[in-house]
């Protein structure tokens, strides 16, 4: 298993956190992980993103110019990252906020109504968890749902840990969705 992921959205959607959560869960399953946020010049223009590598083997370059998985949470991120996905790769897009359809036919395209799922479980702020839930459902080899739920206690700062009940509900709801 060697997955190279981009998770992208606008600032505040929790994309950096989502990447860290996956890394902690996979690390606890003894996989090699790396996480590097976009910073500075490349952050201008509406997207924040992180590059995540999860692998059975040691990780060389931490950057992800050709993702095997791209998770895009808003329209500018779709525009930027859809063309970069490796042929045969996976694109998950947040159809709650993105009203255009991805055009690529050489990759698997899956939508997740991330904000709607989050709101249905009682929070406007857990769309990132819905995206993660969808990733885990489609790529179970990255980490188990249980590992990710456990990792929440480490990944989420103490002051936000009270929201973990909702985070777990959103994760499970998106994970279970067909």
């Amino acid at each position: 298993m060697h997955e190279r992921m981009i998770i992208a959205g606008f600032g505040g959607q929790g994309v950096i956190m989502a990447g860290k959560l996956l890394c902690i869960a996979a690390m606890n399953e003894n996989k090699y992980v790396s996480h590097i946020p976009s910073y500075g010049a490349e952050m201008r223009g509406g997207t924040a993103n992180c590059s995540v590598v999860i692998s059975d083997k040691e990780i060389g370059s931490p950057t992800v110019p050709k993702p095997t998985i791209a998770v895009v949470m808003n329209t500018p991120s779709l525009t930027k990252f859809e063309p970069m996905v490796k042929p045969g790769g996976l694109l998950i897009y947040n159809s709650s906020l993105i009203d255009q359809k991805p055009k690529r036919t050489d990759i698997t395209v899956v939508d997740v109504k991330a904000n709607d799922i989050s709101e249905a479980e009682g929070s406007t702020r857990a769309a990132n968890m819905a995206a993660i839930g969808k990733v885990l459902a489609l790529k179970p080899e990255i980490a188990s749902l249980e590992s990710v739920i456990k990792a929440l206690d480490v990944a989420i700062s103490a002051r936000n840990r009270k929201h973990n009940d909702i985070n777990i509900k959103v994760l499970k709801a998106a994970f279970a969705q067909k």
Partner: protein
């Protein structure tokens, strides 16, 4: 593995400094190393230490001089253009034989350049960016784990030899988060009878880098320094030879580029191509002997850097046949590519 945590390189370095007993940090912000001062600002008060954001890089390095002269374990960090500003202070610190740890999380240059990771400061780090006959120990981590482990080592080496130890990372290593097992304190204690701790009941100590009389004073100091540097060269070379024993081709790299080379080695080995990696852990002293040994039976040596060719000069000086040394580098914040390394190695043929 339950003792592993996910930590960012810059923060791992900060925590390791605290584990090593660093209680003073002075610095001035610059990307991509800002998590170091941010971490020290948050953590140092917990352990009774002092964090101070100086008015400039030059002020910060001179605060390091002061704290070190008083016997403290002290650190500053910056990124390339900020490290350039510190060079005067580093030369003075060398002249005064003071121990300290300085971190350079390199970014693209020259000039203000950009904030992406780079390895363009190899010359500055290993040749002495400041004036005069001096050297500094240079450690080159390649993972978050090494960012932490080599920081702990850096403080001991600085105290042991009374020199600056430079931790030479790059923007990628500063920003990357990986699994980390926190290092343990080494427990080594270094007496500092030279430190300015108050002269009550003893003769006053003097810490200075001004020595006006050439024959009896400055040359004498330079010879003392030279002895020390010879001892460091003899005892502190560090490197890793990865799959070099039967290698036809050898990659030479350090830091982030060495990670990419290692990936290339693994992939080429899967195709049956005998290639190995020689990775620096100290850039000064340069592990010439170990490199010579690893390179001895190889047909070709590819030096890979995130610069347009700096470390290659040390590689050429070290190996018997410098004609077989080739180069591949990217600069300006770009990374070397695994596929390009593989392509070049294959192109050497037999």
């Amino acid at each position: 593995m339950s003792d592993q945590i996910l930590m960012k390189g810059n923060e791992a370095l900060g925590e390791a400094a605290i584990i090593a007993g660093c209680r003073f940090y002075f610095g001035y912000p610059i990307t991509p190393q800002n998590e170091v001062p941010a971490y020290m600002a948050r953590r140092l008060p917990d352990v009774g230490g002092t964090f101070l954001q100086a008015e400039s890089e030059i002020a910060a390095i001179n605060m390091v001089y002061g704290a070190s002269a008083a016997g403290a374990r002290v650190m500053t960090s910056s990124s390339s253009p900020g490290i350039s500003l510190k060079q005067e202070g580093l030369s003075y610190i060398a002249g005064a034989e003071l121990p300290c740890v300085v971190v350079n999380i390199m970014r693209g240059g020259p000039g203000l350049g950009n904030i992406a990771g780079s390895q363009g400061d190899y010359f500055q780090s290993t040749r002495g960016g400041g004036n005069g006959d001096y050297r500094q120990l240079v450690l080159t981590p390649a993972t978050v784990q090494e960012m932490a482990d080599l920081t702990v080592l850096a403080f001991d080496l600085a105290d042991k030899y009374r020199v600056t130890v430079l931790i030479l990372g790059d923007g990628y290593l500063g920003q990357i988060s990986e699994a980390l097992t926190l290092p343990k304190p080494t427990g080594k204690v270094f007496d500092k009878p030279w430190a300015l701790t108050g002269a009550k009941g003893r003769k006053p100590n003097k810490v200075a880098s001004l020595r006006l009389v050439p024959e009896s004073s400055l040359e004498e100091l330079n010879l003392v320094l030279d002895e020390k540097y010879k001892s460091i060269s003899a005892n502190e070379c560090r490197s890793e030879s990865y799959l070099t024993d039967d290698a036809d081709y050898l990659l030479v790299a350090y830091g982030t580029s060495s990670r990419i080379c290692r990936e290339a080695v693994n992939e080429l080995r899967e195709e049956g191509i005998k290639v190995g990696l020689f990775r620096l852990i100290t850039a000064w002293p340069f592990p010439a002997e170990a490199l010579r040994k690893a390179a001895d039976k190889t047909k070709k040596i590819l030096t890979v850097e995130m610069s347009l060719g700096q470390m290659i000069e040390d590689v050429q000086l070290s190996v018997k046949d410098s004609d077989k040394v080739d180069f591949y580098g990217r600069s300006g914040g770009m990374l070397p590519e695994t596929d390009e390394i593989k392509r070049r190695i294959k192109a050497y043929g037999n």
